[in-house]
C-alpha cells in the first residue's frame, strides 16, 4: 500500500473532482490531450475481478492491471472544471464535478504567495438588476409603440456635452448658428465592447471582437465601438479606416502608447475616442497585470516590452498628484488629436465615485467626455483573488448616485455615464442595459460577456477563471499558439454579431411598451422593484 501522509494534498481537497467511468473509457487519450491544466493523466490501476464461467458457480478471482484516466492530486495541476475533457470524450466517460468540500483556499498559498487568478468575483454575484422590473407599461393613455414598425433612436453620447446656456449659438435671422466649435461628441450605440487588451486576450479573440465590431457597423448599421484595452493595437489596424470604430485606451502602464503616437501621422481617420483607465471594477486597487506566461513575442512587439510580468501601477503617476497627472493626460490626449476626439475616463466604482464625478462635472476645461464606472462584477485577465473577491463596489446604486448628483446641479447628461461590470451576467444584457439607462446611465459596456460569446466557459461559481495562467482551454485568454488555434474566429465573431442583433431587438421590445422611441435615460419612473431596500436606495417605486 502507498503511504499517504495526512498533510498530503489529495483529490478530495481540490475544487473539482473528476468523475470517471473506466467501463466506458476506451483509452483514446483525447481528454488528457485536451486538458490544458495537465490535471489528468493516464495511469494503471490494479483491479480485482471475480469470474465464474462454468454451469455451476465456481468463482475465481484474479487481479489485473487496467489502464485508467485519473486526476492528479496536485494544487498546481488542479482541475478547474472547464469541462473540455467531457466535451472531447467520445464515450461520455469523464466529467468534472464541483467539490463542495474543497480545501483549496487553505492550501493554495504555498510559499507565502497570494492566490492569483483571472475571471471575475466568485463571491459577489448577487444581482440587484434582477430584482428590478420594467413596471410602467403603457396601456391606454400613452399607447405602447410597435417595436417592429416604429423607428427607434438607439444612440448614446460619447463626449462632453455643454449645458444649453453654454452652447455658442447665435441667432442669425430665424436661424441659430454655431459661432465656435464645441467639444467633440460621438453618438454611438449604447453598448461598448469593453477594454480587453491584446495580451490579456489572444490575438484571435481580439480579432474576433474587432471583426464583429466592423461587421455590425458596416453590414447592420449599428455604430458599435470597441475599446482597444491597454497595450495598443496592431499598427495596420491603426492605419486603416476601421480605426474609427475603436476607442483607444491609455492605462497607468502607458503600454503601447509609443506605437500609437508613432502611428498618428499614418492614421487615415480619427479613433472613436480615448479612454483613460484609472481603475477596474474587478480589482479596484490594482493596476493591470499581464503575467510573463502571456507576454508572447507579438505582445512584446505591440507593447514594446521584454518578456516579463507586466504590471501597471495602481494609479497614474505624476510629479505632484494623481489629479494633476490625470488632468495633464486629459489635456495631452485632447491636444494629440487636436480636440477632435472625445476623451473619457474609466474608474472602478467606489464609495467615492460621486465626488470624482462631481469634480469632473465642475472641471472648468470641460474636457472629460465620459465617466465609465466599472462595478465589482467586472472581469479581469489576472488579479489577486483577494482583490477579485473582496474589493470593489456594486455598480447599480453607484450609477444611480452619480446620476442623481448630476441632477441636483442640473448637469445630467453633460458627462455621459457609462456603466459596466456585470452587465449581461445572466446572459440578458439588453434588460440589464435598459434598467441601467432608466437609472441614469447613458450606455453600458460589455467585456466578459463577449468572450463568453466567443466560447469562454468561465463563470461566477468558480468554473475555470484561469485567464491568468496562459492555459485558457478555449484559446481566448492565452498566447500559446497551439491553444489559440482552438478559437474559430469567424464563429466567435458570428456569435457576437448574432447576440448584438438580438440585443438590439430586445432593447426595442423594452422601449416600445413604455412608449419611448428614444433611449429612456433617467426614466426611473419606468422601473419598480419588489425589494423595499432597493426601492429606497435607488429612489424607484416599491411594488409587491
Amino acid at each position: 500500500m502507498e503511504t499517504v501522509k495526512m498533510q498530503d494534498v489529495s483529490v478530495i481537497d481540490l475544487p473539482w473532482k473528476i468523475e470517471y467511468q473506466s467501463d466506458r473509457c476506451t483509452m483514446c487519450g483525447s481528454c488528457v490531450a485536451t486538458c490544458t491544466f495537465n490535471a489528468i493523466e493516464a495511469g494503471v490501476e490494479r483491479r480485482s475481478v471475480t469470474v465464474s464461467t462454468g454451469h455451476q458457480p465456481s468463482p475465481t478471482q484474479r487481479h489485473s492491471a487496467v489502464p485508467v484516466i485519473r486526476q492528479k492530486a496536485s494544487l498546481t495541476n488542479a482541475c478547474v472544471g472547464c469541462g473540455m475533457c467531457e466535451k472531447v470524450c467520445p464515450n461520455r466517460a469523464i466529467r468534472p464535478i464541483r467539490n463542495l468540500d474543497s480545501r483549496q483556499n487553505l492550501l493554495a498559498r504555498t510559499g507565502g504567495a497570494t492566490i492569483k487568478r483571472g475571471g471575475r468575483t466568485n463571491l459577489n454575484s448577487d444581482r440587484t438588476l434582477d430584482k428590478i422590473i420594467v413596471g410602467r407599461i403603457s396601456q391606454m393613455t400613452d399607447p405602447a409603440l410597435d417595436s417592429e414598425r416604429h423607428t427607434f433612436d438607439i444612440l448614446a453620447p460619447f463626449g462632453r456635452v455643454l449645458s444649453p446656456k453654454e452652447l455658442p449659438l447665435a441667432a442669425v435671422g430665424n436661424d441659430l448658428k454655431l459661432t465656435t466649435s464645441t467639444p467633440p461628441v460621438n453618438w454611438i450605440y449604447p453598448v461598448i465592447f469593453s477594454d480587453m487588451s491584446i495580451g490579456a486576450l489572444s490575438t484571435r479573440a481580439w480579432e474576433a471582437i474587432a471583426l464583429a465590431t466592423a461587421y455590425l457597423n458596416e453590414k447592420h448599421n449599428m455604430p458599435i465601438r470597441m475599446c482597444s484595452g491597454e497595450g495598443g493595437m496592431p499598427v495596420k489596424l491603426m492605419q486603416s479606416e476601421y480605426l474609427k470604430y475603436t476607442i483607444l485606451q491609455i492605462a497607468s502602464g502607458h503600454f503601447g502608447w509609443n506605437r500609437i503616437i508613432k502611428a498618428m501621422p499614418e492614421m487615415k481617420v480619427d479613433p472613436a475616442g480615448i479612454l483613460i483607465k484609472i481603475g477596474q471594477g474587478a480589482k479596484p486597487g490594482d493596476g493591470g497585470l499581464l503575467p510573463a506566461a502571456k507576454v508572447a513575442p507579438h505582445v512584446q512587439a505591440i507593447r514594446g516590452v521584454p518578456k516579463a510580468d507586466l504590471m501597471s501601477p495602481p494609479n497614474h503617476q505624476g510629479l505632484y498628484s494623481i489629479e494633476e497627472s490625470v488632468q495633464k493626460m486629459f489635456l495631452s490626449m485632447n491636444a494629440a488629436f487636436k480636440f477632435r476626439v472625445p476623451v473619457a475616463i474609466k474608474c472602478a466604482a467606489s464609495a467615492t465615485s460621486v465626488s470624482v464625478y462631481n469634480n469632473l462635472l465642475r472641471d472648468p476645461y470641460k474636457i472629460c467626455g465620459g465617466f465609465f464606472l466599472d462595478g465589482i462584477q467586472g472581469g479581469t485577465g489576472a488579479a489577486n483573488e483577494v482583490s477579485l473577491d473582496h474589493t470593489g463596489h456594486p455598480i447599480v446604486s453607484k450609477v444611480r448616485e452619480c446620476y442623481l448628483a448630476a441632477v441636483k446641479q442640473g448637469s445630467q447628461g453633460q458627462i455621459p455615464l457609462w456603466a459596466g461590470g456585470g452587465v449581461g451576467l445572466t446572459g440578458n444584457a439588453a434588460a440589464d442595459a435598459f434598467k441601467l439607462l432608466c437609472l441614469g446611465a447613458n450606455g453600458v459596456f460589455l467585456g466578459k460577456m463577449l468572450i463568453q460569446l466567443c466560447g469562454c466557459i468561465g463563470n461566477e461559481q468558480g468554473r475555470c477563471n484561469s485567464c491568468s495562467t496562459g492555459k485558457c482551454p478555449t484559446g481566448i485568454c492565452t498566447q500559446d499558439p497551439h491553444l489559440v488555434r482552438r478559437l474559430d474566429i469567424d464563429k466567435a465573431a458570428q456569435n457576437i454579431v448574432d447576440y448584438m442583433l438580438a440585443l438590439d431587438a430586445e432593447l426595442k421590445k423594452l422601449m416600445a411598451p413604455i412608449g419611448n422611441s428614444t433611449l429612456p435615460v433617467g426614466r426611473s419612473d419606468a422601473l419598480v422593484t419588489t425589494d423595499k431596500a432597493i426601492a429606497d436606495k435607488l429612489n424607484i417605486q416599491y411594488a409587491c
Binding site: L176, L178, V185, G413, G515, N516, V521, R523
Partner: protein, 368 residues
C-alpha cells in the same frame, strides 16, 4: 383624455364662445373641470392693459393674506372684476369662497424699470403668493400678468360657466385670445394646479396627452429656473421648455419643436444645419418629450402655436374664417363655433409641423 382648444380673433369675443368650442368634444374630455386663460382683454379690463392682473381662487383668510402681502410689497389695487356669481343649488362645481381678478399698479419705484425687470418682479410676487397660500392652505394663484386673466375650477364646465355667469354674453369680460380646456387632470389627484392651461411670464400652454419623459424633464427643469415648480401635471413640462427656449435661451421659435421632439439622428445628419441640431439635441436631451401629445401655446405677443408629438398620436385641427381662428382637438368643436367657414382651409398639422398664428390671423406653417 383631454380635449384642448383655443380661439384667436381680430375682434374681442366672450368666453362663452370657448365653451361652445369645447362642449361638443365632451365625450373625450369627461367634463370634470373648466380652465381658461384670456389674453388681450377688453370690456372692464380694457383700460388696465398695462396693469398686472392677479387671478386667484382662495378663502376669506387667503384673501386677507394676499391683501396684506400686496400692500407690504407696494402693489396698489386699481380695479377688480367681481363675477356675478350664481348660487343656484345643484350646480356641479367645487367652488372656492373667493375669486380674485384684480389689477394692480406697479410699486412706484418700478415705474421706470425695464420690462424684463418687471417680468421678474411679477414672477417673484406670484411665486411668493403661491407659497403663502399653499403653506396656509388658503388658496391658489394662477397668474399675475398684465392683460391676462385665468379662471379654473373643478366641476361640470356648463355649471362652472353658469356659476361665473359666463353664459350671458355681455361686454363686461371679453378678449381676443382664449386658451381653454375642460377637464381636470384625472390621472392623478384632482388638484387645481394640475389643470391646464398653465401660465408663466406671458407664456400659456395646454397639452393633450401623456408625456412619458415627465420624470426626466422634471428632474432637469427643476434646476433651470425658479419658476419651474409644481409639476402637478406632465404637461407643465411643455410650458417650461417653451419658456426656457424662448424666454431664457432667446432662441427663434422654430427651435422649440427641435427641442421637444428632435429629429432622428439619421435625419439630422442629412441636413445642412446638422451641427446646430446635433448640439441642441445633445444639450437639451433632457427636455425631449415622448408619448402622445398635442400642444397649444400662446406667446406673450398673443401669437398662438400648435404642434404634435413626433408620431402624431394625438390630433389637432385649425379652422378659421375671416375674423376668427380656432384650434381644437376635434373638428366638431370648430364646426360649432365656425359652421360657415371654408372647411377646405382647415389644417391638420402633421407630426413634424408647427403652425403659428399671428395677431393679424396670418398662419405660418413650417416643417421641423
Amino acid at each position: 383624455m383631454c380635449r384642448i382648444g383655443a380661439i384667436k380673433s381680430k375682434v374681442p369675443f366672450h368666453p362663452s364662445k370657448a365653451l361652445y368650442l369645447m362642449l361638443p368634444q365632451q365625450e373625450g374630455h369627461d367634463n370634470s373641470g373648466f380652465a381658461m386663460v384670456m389674453q388681450d382683454l377688453y370690456g372692464r379690463f380694457a383700460e388696465y392693459k398695462d396693469k398686472p392682473l392677479l387671478s386667484v381662487a382662495c378663502t376669506q383668510k387667503g384673501n386677507k393674506l394676499i391683501e396684506d402681502f400686496m400692500d407690504n410689497n407696494n402693489f396698489n389695487p386699481v380695479y377688480e372684476w367681481i363675477p356675478n356669481i350664481s348660487k343656484r343649488p345643484g350646480l356641479d362645481i367645487k367652488a372656492m369662497p373667493y375669486y380674485i381678478f384684480r389689477a394692480y399698479d406697479y410699486p412706484e419705484h418700478y415705474a421706470d424699470t425695464t420690462p424684463e425687470a418687471k417680468a421678474e418682479l411679477l414672477l417673484d410676487i406670484r411665486l411668493a403668493l403661491r407659497e403663502l397660500l399653499e403653506k396656509a392652505g388658503q388658496g391658489y394663484v394662477y397668474s399675475f400678468w398684465p392683460d391676462v386673466l385665468t379662471l379654473k375650477e373643478i366641476g361640470d364646465p356648463r355649471d362652472i360657466a353658469e356659476y361665473f355667469g359666463l353664459w350671458k354674453e355681455t361686454d363686461e369680460l371679453t378678449a381676443k385670445n382664449i386658451v381653454v380646456q375642460c377637464r381636470q387632470n384625472t390621472n392623478y389627484d384632482i388638484v387645481r394646479y394640475a389643470a391646464h392651461p398653465f401660465f408663466l411670464q406671458g407664456y400659456t400652454l395646454c397639452a393633450n396627452g401623456e408625456n412619458t419623459f415627465y420624470t426626466k424633464n422634471k428632474e432637469f427643469q427643476k434646476s433651470l429656473h425658479r419658476g419651474y415648480i409644481g409639476f402637478e401635471s406632465d404637461s407643465q413640462n411643455f410650458l417650461y421648455t417653451l419658456h426656457y427656449v424662448l424666454h431664457e435661451l432667446k432662441w427663434p421659435i422654430k427651435y422649440y419643436k427641435h427641442v421637444i421632439t428632435p429629429l432622428p439622428f439619421a435625419e439630422i445628419t442629412t441636413r445642412s444645419d446638422r451641427a446646430e441640431l446635433t448640439a441642441i439635441r445633445q444639450s437639451l436631451g433632457h427636455l425631449e418629450i415622448n408619448g402622445p401629445n398635442t400642444i397649444i401655446a400662446m406667446l406673450p405677443s398673443g401669437d398662438m402655436m400648435t404642434c404634435c408629438d413626433s408620431k402624431k398620436l394625438r390630433p389637432v385641427v385649425v379652422g378659421r374664417d375671416e375674423n376668427t381662428l380656432a384650434i381644437a382637438s376635434e373638428v366638431c368643436g370648430i364646426n360649432t363655433i365656425l359652421p360657415d367657414r371654408d372647411k377646405t382651409l382647415d389644417i391638420y398639422p402633421n407630426e413634424r409641423e408647427v403652425v403659428l398664428i399671428n395677431e393679424r390671423l396670418e398662419v405660418e406653417r413650417w416643417k421641423q
